[in-house]
Symmetry: C2
Subunit: 134 residues, 2 copies
């Protein structure tokens, strides 16, 4: 990998609409996350004041959507963002937060799967009932 490759890497810089498209969030939600401290920094602005999202921004936002998509509350995502923003030296705290979340998600997944099994059983019953009329 040459230095040239690095310096010539196209510097993406998306509008909020494009970032919304790329992340699957709405522009409203992107602004809300920024306001609420879920992003690592205030997003860069163009001279017009419009937001310009970098690839790093998008990467972080994708991590946020993974945490949110697994049920982590906003307030806890913010705590995690606070840790990352604080820089090196608190990796153990981040790890503890993520591990605790992972454990909760695993439990929740198992519970939902068990509920689902029971529901599928119920479906089987109905299928048998409707296919064999008395």
């Amino acid at each position: 990998m040459s230095v040239a490759t690095q310096t010539e890497r196209p510097r993406v810089s998306l509008s909020i609409a494009e970032a919304a498209e790329a992340t699957g969030l709405t522009t409203h939600t992107l602004r809300y996350y920024e306001r609420d401290g879920l992003l690592l920094d205030v997003v860069d602005r163009a001279s017009s004041g419009h937001r310009r999202y970098t690839e790093e921004d998008l990467g972080w936002i994708r991590m946020v959507t993974r945490l949110r998509g697994t049920g982590m509350p906003i307030r806890e995502v913010r705590q995690y963002a606070d840790l990352v923003r604080a820089g090196d030296g608190n990796e153990d705290a981040r790890l503890a937060l993520l591990r605790a979340h992972r454990d909760r998600v695993r439990l929740e997944l198992a519970e939902v799967a068990a509920h689902l099994d029971a529901i599928e059983l119920k479906i089987d019953l109905y299928e048998r009932r409707t296919s064999t009329p008395t």
Copy 2:
């Protein structure tokens, strides 16, 4: 199974506190579900006006918690309860409702599992970083 066994089967009849204990819900939530039409009928009352839950009540409530636990909205649980309350003849509608829910839950489970994988990857990264200090 004798007739005696059937007629002598102890007729459970729990107070709301006991029903809460048995189902993992709060008494507040049990009353709320009843008010909101999630139960098949208004629960029987003792002469004092206090609720008395039967085994059938508990069975239905457990089904409701399975549906809720897999993310079915209150309003849809009520639709399902309406169908069951209406009696025989709409099994296909119930089946359609349950199948649609099952499909949504399966999708959601897969998405959460995928998010979880990504999070576990992140955890691995942190574990490697903290165990091999530069």
